[in-house]
Symmetry: C2
Subunit: 191 residues, 2 copies
């Protein structure tokens, strides 16, 4: 199964990102993005409601993948194992190696624009809230669900930063596993 | 030692907050805030550079208190104990019981205004970065320092939300301790 098939949407995203990197998010117009891949502005708007959405399209689906990962975990799995399972399932699907360069460029663009950064952070808050709700649905207490969901989001965020900072061979899912291990070492029960 | 002495700055903060709650942050002017406690606009600006700063004044000092807490911890303390020590020291000083109502009202105002919320989140990111640097100065590896600092900030954030949501007798420091315990239970080494 092809995970990253280059259809019109993906070509528009790739062209937009390249233009944003070269000339800055603000300077690039939708018409220019569309023209650079031989499409019209009208076609662009069939895929994205606005220019910002080029950078955020698909994130609801990523959130859904995390939530599905929580729901699909075995009924008797521990909260940590549920989150480990969900993080691995979602990131292996959404962040294969061939997306690393795109993810890196995208993060660079977002970091330079306060409005984009706020949108990105809002998505993280939504992700955290969705994970918390999914954990509660499994019977985890509200306080523990909230804490575990926020912590899992933090681990994802830190791991993602590491993943796009390098080109070494570790996958995002492997980095997440390593960080979950560190987390246990640091905060685990005192011996 | 008095921790929350009602000088002009504190009277201005209290009056501003009351006005923001009643009429909304945008609708209230600096002149009105000053007049409501018998002071001039000019005096207001001796204490705060702008209206927003009424809500954020003192946060650098809070960050410094966290960092001092990390530096002051015994040399042989574990990373978790260093953070536990720092979180307790800073929160006992900065968030005594008598600040709870203020903290709750402040959070309510901030949640309703995207620009204020962005500023609050930026302060959290700065806090996390400062904690990470302070841990690295103690010899903690960069990856572990970053993860531990982000997680401690997350615990603080979740605990703070719990503290202002209720009036039960648990102090913020006690809530933080309980959450650190939960964190160990959830993510600690598997048995």
């Amino acid at each position: 199964m092809v995970r990253w098939a280059p259809g019109s949407r993906e070509r528009l995203q790739a062209a937009a990102l390249e233009a944003f990197v070269e000339r800055g998010f603000e300077s690039v117009t939708v018409a220019e993005i569309a023209a650079s891949v031989g499409l019209t502005e009208r076609t662009f708007f069939r895929y994205f409601p606005d220019k910002r959405e080029v950078l955020f399209h698909g994130q609801e689906t990523l959130e859904a993948a995390f939530v599905d990962g929580i729901r699909d975990a075995p009924a008797d799995a521990s909260t940590a194992d549920v989150l480990r399972h969900a993080l691995r399932a979602a990131t292996e699907w959404w962040f294969p190696e061939e997306r690393r360069a795109f993810a890196r460029a995208r993060s660079g663009i977002i970091a330079q624009d306060p409005a984009l950064l706020e949108r990105e952070l809002a998505k993280m808050r939504n992700l955290s809230a969705a994970l918390g709700t999914a954990l509660e649905e499994r019977g985890v207490s509200p306080v523990r669900a909230r804490l575990a969901a926020e912590t899992a989001t933090t681990v994802f965020h830190v791991a993602f930063g590491q993943w796009i900072a390098t080109d070494d061979e570790k996958s995002l899912a492997d980095i997440i596993d390593a960080l979950l291990g560190e987390l246990g070492d640091v905060f685990g029960p005192r011996s």
